[in-house]
């Protein structure tokens, strides 16, 4: 599909996921959205390092990761002035309602459970970033 209103500047998205095949799939899907530059991080610590180096417009993160998990990452970012309001999407195998509530209470903007449907993730990312889809 084409995007009629490509953003004036490219938007940076960081995918934080410790599972290589899952990370590749999310990056593959989001890289097809025009106007997005998609980078990846192996875990929460790697993510913090990359977030300090580059300004990101959206963060997509798993929860269960070694060293620094996704919920701790959300908590750290919401306490950080630079990333206090940057949208965060959680993608996780944790499907329980309390997990979802906890993530949203910490400041995540959306919560998707695995296995994911890539078009569903793309649609959500476009909605959050205000990328308008042209059906022609």
């Amino acid at each position: 599909m084409t995007d009629s209103t490509e953003p004036t500047r490219r938007l940076n998205v960081l995918v934080v996921e410790d599972s290589p095949p899952m990370r590749k799939m999310i990056v593959f899907a989001l890289s097809r959205v025009k106007g997005l530059t998609v980078n990846e991080a192996d875990d929460g610590v790697d993510a913090l390092r990359k977030l300090a180096q580059t300004r990101y417009d959206l963060i997509v993160t798993d929860i269960n990761m070694p060293i620094l998990d996704g919920l701790k990452l959300v908590k750290r970012l919401r306490a950080d002035g630079a990333y206090m309001r940057v949208p965060i999407i959680i993608i996780t195998t944790e499907g329980a309602a309390e997990d979802r509530q906890r993530a949203l209470a910490l400041g995540a903007n959306a919560y998707i459970t695995k296995p994911i449907q890539a078009p569903q993730v793309i649609k959500l990312v476009k909605e959050i970033l205000g990328i308008v889809e042209d059906p022609r």
């Binding site: 599909m1 599972s19 290589p20 095949p21 899952m22 590749k24 799939m25 593959f28 899907a29 195998t93 499907g95 329980a96 459970t113 695995k114 296995p115 994911i116 449907q117 890539a118 078009p119 059906p135 022609r136």
Partner: protein, 287 residues
């Protein structure tokens, strides 16, 4: 000649003269109607001159009939089936309106279907690549876990490796439970697991589940035509209701590629470390 009345009582006989009089009165009446119609039309023309282009009733019906025939021909020519995607789960947005909007909705659904297929093929490719780049048995197990959890949505499973000499399966990895709880599984003659070995090929859609316990299925992991391991799929993630269409091709891919990856990791672990030399490679390939 007899003319029937309106059905009440006996038919009444009438003479030719009375019939001529009857038809004569009818003809006069028709002429009066035509004259009255012409007068009304002329009055209408005076009152609404802009409607002068309206076709006469007969030509109006003809033009409508022609339009109906034209639309029917268009409908027959319309390549609706080419635009129709294979049925996706229906939702409110999937109800196609008529005309041009319907064409656009059909195209959008088709594109969405193709994108869905594209991502499915990408996931197959990524998972396959991951299996073939695994160097150790633990990397194969890790990849198997990630693919089953993230791509298929199976939350609990155990991987058994085949001990060919003792004809038992022994557990080496488990997700969603304790490994110690898993004992050996004997391959009894005539049982479903023995049948799996007999079949000696990767699992494909339509094959039996081989499970004679509470498991969802036993998935054979095959290298060439030899069974090397078995995955016992025990339960789905809470949010996953069951297998979907694309899951079967993923299971088939795991059955073939995970088996090869396990055997490759096994060979790599037992092979003597050797430098890659041109002379040795050429000898191997007969160059």
């Amino acid at each position: 000649m007899r003319v029937q009345d309106s059905g009440q009582g006996e038919p009444e006989p009438r003479s030719d003269a009375s019939l001529q009089e009857f038809f004569g009165r009818g003809e006069t009446f028709v002429r009066q109607l035509i004259a009255e119609n012409a007068r009304l039309r002329s009055e209408l023309h005076v009152a609404q001159p802009q409607r002068d282009d309206l076709p006469a009733p007969a030509s109006l019906i003809e033009s409508l009939m022609a339009r109906v025939a034209e639309l029917e021909r268009e409908h027959e020519r319309e390549p609706a089936t080419e635009l129709e995607p294979e049925r996706e789960p229906s939702g409110p947005e999937s109800a196609a309106p008529n005309g041009a909007d319907g064409d656009t909705a059909g195209l959008i659904r088709r594109i969405e279907h193709l994108e869905h297929e594209s991502y499915h093929l990408a996931s197959m490719y990524v998972a396959g690549l991951q299996f073939h780049s695994a160097r150790t048995l633990s990397e194969v197990l890790q990849t198997t876990t990630e693919v089953l959890l993230n791509f298929v949505g199976v939350g609990a499973f155990t991987l058994f490796v085949l001990d060919e000499e003792r004809r038992v399966l022994f557990a080496v990895s488990r997700e969603g439970g304790e490994l110690e709880e898993c004992g050996e599984v004997a391959l009894q003659d005539g049982g479903p697991l023995a049948a799996m070995i007999q079949r000696a090929r990767p699992w494909t859609r339509g094959d039996p589940a081989y499970a004679d316990d509470a498991a969802i299925m036993y998935l054979p992991l095959v290298s060439n035509r030899r069974l090397v391991a078995v995955l016992r799929l025990e339960s789905f993630l809470a949010q996953k209701p069951g297998f979907e269409d694309n899951d079967y091709s993923l299971l088939s891919m795991i059955s073939e590629h995970a088996g090869i990856a396990i055997e490759t990791a096994w060979i790599r672990a037992h092979a003597k470390s050797a430098l890659l030399q041109r002379q040795a490679v050429e000898q191997l390939v007969g160059a």
